[in-house]
């Protein structure tokens, strides 16, 4: 009889199952907020609804989406990665420098990726194996990787990549990552979407993903259940390294050269995208869909405030308030739950 019931449930409850996923409430709230913000700006200035603006919006949110995905992995494990922004700079500088020297773009990108992955492993080892506070460990790698970004081209921004690999190859690289469109949408968004889907799958459908939630929720219980905490932590830091590296390619393609300050502060944008989407900085909860909504909220705000002519100062101020408000909501909800538990 139970099996009958299971079968029935299987048929009727696919939608229910998705809606009932833990953390879905925060995601829905974030998407609702996104729609309200978008429509509100649209009503003030109709240009917000224009097709070209939507395309621009999708392209510029891609960077935040990728960085947010990487940071969300760490937030869910209860850690943080402050080195993401510097890794973006390192990736952009290494690939741009090599390309400006005439190295094949694929090789240049591979070298940048290897450097980022090494940083990710180092972060994971420091935090997972040597139990350094993640804030300190990644603060260190943040300075180190930024230092590498500076040193790659002798403390100067690079020349245009086209000077090394030629105009044709340079254009191809820039179009692939930034200026080109596929099916009417900028490639940047497609790239971000594919990476998002891969890591979404990894987090929600695989053993590694389950372990990431487990160590963020209760690391001792996870260890006693046979979860390899060190490996899982390293994997999470590798995800953020991959995301940072790809954002580095995108920034390199956008500028057509390497900028030593590329990706400055991005680690914090990643935290913001995550927490706006309901990823708890305390670990254990949150969905990557929320990060998607968070990155979109962020970009819509920036875009909308820009369109209606607000100054940069106002933009920062509004975004700051939104971030604090999102986390405040999380803390209040959590402490409310704890209160209930205690009184029982």
């Amino acid at each position: 009889m139970r099996e009958d019931r299971m079968m029935n449930e299987k048929k009727q409850s696919a939608v229910k199952r998705i809606l009932g996923t833990r953390g879905m409430g925060a995601v829905i709230t974030a998407f609702a907020g996104l729609i309200i913000i978008y429509v509100a700006f649209g009503l003030i200035d109709r240009k917000v609804f224009a097709g070209q603006n939507v395309m621009n919006l999708l392209r510029s949110m891609s960077k935040y989406l990728l960085i947010g995905v990487g940071q969300s992995y760490l937030l869910i494990t209860g850690n943080i990665d402050l080195s993401i922004g510097s890794m973006v700079g390192m990736s952009a500088m290494i690939s741009a420098t090599l390309m400006a020297m005439g190295v094949n773009p694929f090789v240049a990108m591979a070298v940048a990726m290897i450097c980022c992955l090494v940083t990710g492993v180092v972060n994971g080892m420091l935090v997972g194996k040597f139990k350094l506070p993640p804030f300190i460990a990644t603060l260190g790698t943040m300075f180190v990787t930024r230092g590498v970004a500076y040193m790659v081209n002798n403390n100067r921004n690079t020349d245009a990549i086209a000077t090394g690999i030629g105009k044709e190859a340079g254009d191809r690289f820039q179009n692939f990552f930034y200026y080109g469109k596929t099916l009417g949408v900028y490639n940047t968004f497609w790239i971000a979407l594919v990476i998002f889907l891969i890591f979404f799958f990894l987090l929600s459908k695989t053993r590694t993903g389950r372990h990431i939630y487990a160590i963020g929720s209760n690391v001792d219980a996870a260890k006693l259940s046979g979860v390899n905490v060190v490996n899982t932590t390293i994997k999470a830091y590798l995800v953020s390294a991959v995301c940072a590296c790809v954002v580095g390619y995108i920034l390199c393609a956008q500028a057509g050269m390497g900028n030593m300050e590329a990706g400055n502060m991005y680690e914090m944008y990643g935290v913001a995208a995550g927490v706006i989407g309901g990823i708890s900085p305390l670990g254990g909860t949150g969905l990557l869909l929320g990060t998607f909504a968070g990155a979109a909220v962020w970009q819509t705000l920036e875009n909308g405030l820009n369109m209606i002519g607000a100054q940069v100062g106002i933009q920062r101020l509004v975004i700051g308030i939104i971030v604090v408000f999102s986390v405040l909501l999380d803390v209040v909800v959590r402490s409310g739950n704890f209160g209930k538990k205690a009184s029982k």
Partner: protein
């Protein structure tokens, strides 16, 4: 390691035959630095039985079970599980052999679902994709077999504690555990939930599991226990069928020794009432507390761990919020809603956990002693007077005989006894009326203990009311004049120290509310 037969084979046999010995621990010795935690302890568990492991706090019950479940390693002795002798186990190996422990503090990932917790670390997968439906179906089957009504998809953190405990039991069964260790499983359950737990325990028993049951609630043993093993001070005392023993015999075996007069007591005339608590309520562990303290008297608070004594001191001192009750000092009501109120009124607390609540271990003795007295040694502008601070420290070191080269030493580097003196010293500069000591002698050596007793006596002679919380019965009976016994958040008895016995106090201390599940 002698391997006689495969563990899996013997495990199945154990399921079929009842009453077969499945765990045999002989001459187990375990030493921690400075303490012999287990001294040649014997322990035996048979399939299909509930074995109660009894003893006072610190008797070594938990240590023994941690060796069985692979958390600790033994120094010597033999441990045989399902006919195979094991030198030492890791927690994972112990699980594989079939030993599962259900901790007093539940160990679950609160953010994950029931099924996710049950299969954590051994998830079922199709290729690389998690097979949630299969795990949920299997979890539902295990829960269903135990007749536990929990949705496997529910988040564990949203379940009440009793249900979380059921999930831990189900998790243990899902790894085919045949030996279940339950440490105080009923401590946070209601009567109805205890009924439910006992039903499950009986079912596990019928399935041939061996269950080790650790509990301080002697009354509830009647409902489920088959045999008992009694330990005291790290030693095996006796075992036997529960039915063949009287409750008095069990208590006598648990307590054991006569009390020797190793406690300096000073007698002084009982003066006027200093302090009174009326109908104090604060959460589950402080319920309707009424008592008074008089000049020239030390009042001991006895009880088992978790009886609510520490919680009572915290509620009085204003650390935890009160839900009701009045506090009177010298006949006048005082309102205490935070520790500052209590300190200003003249009520001070030397808390239970020195390192966590009592001291800033990374600060010097000087800074620790000055911390609660900054209002006394600061000028109006808030600048600390070095001279007054020096005087205060000098006086405290001299009065309390704190053994240290200078007061600049970090408090954390002192010995336990000297740390405790600093904790007390913090309060001596203020003219306090009530001093509350919570477990002041825990973990300090005999000589230092006597110094702490002398200090309490000195306060008593000065007419300060002393409230003395301790789990060590000999010192409560030896130092206090009057003893108040608590159990389960209530005061269950009040006796004069000179006229009572340990057995009487222990009876009060185990006087749990009559719950339906008992008997």
């Amino acid at each position: 390691m002698k391997v006689q037969n495969s563990c899996r084979g013997s495990k199945q046999k154990a399921g079929e035959k009842m009453g077969e010995v499945i765990v045999s621990m002989k001459d187990i010795v375990k030493t921690f630095p400075g303490v012999k935690a287990l001294d040649h302890v014997n322990f035996e568990l048979r399939s299909g039985e509930v074995m109660a492991l009894l003893g006072e706090n610190g008797a070594g019950k938990s240590t023994l079970m941690k060796i069985l479940s692979g958390v600790y390693t033994k120094d010597s002795g033999t441990m045989t599980i399902f006919g195979t002798e094991y030198e030492n186990l890791t927690p994972k190996q112990a699980q594989a052999v079939g030993v599962a422990i259900i901790h007093q503090e539940l160990n679950m990932c609160r953010n994950l679902s029931v099924a996710e917790n049950m299969f954590l670390g051994r998830e079922k997968v199709n290729g690389i994709v998690l097979n949630d439906r299969e795990m949920e179906a299997e979890a539902a089957k295990i829960l269903g077999d135990l007749k536990i009504d929990i949705d496997p998809r529910q988040t564990v953190g949203d379940l009440p504690v009793s249900k979380q405990q059921m999930v831990e039991i189900a998790k243990a069964l899902s790894i085919h555990a045949k030996i279940l260790i339950m440490d105080e499983p009923t401590s946070s359950l209601t009567a109805k939930e205890i009924d439910e737990l006992f039903r499950i325990i009986r079912q596990l028993k019928a399935d041939g599991c061996g269950i080790v049951y650790i509990s301080h609630r002697l009354e509830e043993l009647k409902a489920i226990v088959d045999r008992v093993t009694i330990m005291r001070d790290g030693q095996y005392i006796t075992d036997g069928n529960f039915k063949d023993m009287t409750m008095d015999q069990i208590i006598a075996n648990m307590v054991g020794r006569e009390i020797k007069e190793q406690f300096p007591r000073v007698s002084c005339p009982k003066g006027k009432k200093v302090f009174e608590v009326r109908n104090l309520n604060a959460g589950h562990l402080v319920r309707d507390i009424n008592f008074s303290l008089y000049e020239g008297e030390i009042v001991g608070f006895a009880g088992l761990m978790g009886a609510g004594r520490t919680e009572t001191t915290r509620a009085i001192f204003g650390v935890d919020p009160k839900t009701g009750g009045e506090i009177f000092l010298d006949g006048k009501e005082v309102k205490i809603s935070c520790p500052m109120d209590a300190i200003k009124a003249g009520i001070v607390l030397a808390p239970e956990d020195r390192k966590k609540d009592g001291l800033c271990t990374k600060l010097s003795i000087r800074h620790n002693l000055a911390l609660p007295n900054l209002d006394l040694i600061c000028s109006k502008l808030g600048v600390i007077s070095r001279k007054q601070e020096d005087d205060l420290c000098e006086k405290a070191v001299k009065d309390l005989l704190i053994k240290t080269p200078t007061v600049e030493v970090n408090a954390g580097n002192l010995s336990g006894g000297n740390q405790q003196k600093v904790v007390v010293g913090k309060w001596l500069a203020r003219n306090s009326r009530v001093v509350i000591f919570d477990e002041p002698t825990r973990g300090i050596d005999v000589g230092a203990k006597v110094e702490i007793y002398n200090l309490m006596n000195q306060l008593k002679k000065q007419g300060i009311a002393v409230m003395f919380v301790s789990s060590e019965m000999p010192e409560v009976l030896g130092i206090a004049d009057r003893v108040i016994v608590m159990c389960d958040g209530r005061i269950t008895g009040e006796v004069m120290a000179k006229e009572t016995t340990q057995n009487e106090v222990l009876k009060f201390a185990t006087e749990f509310e009559q719950k339906k599940a008992v008997g």
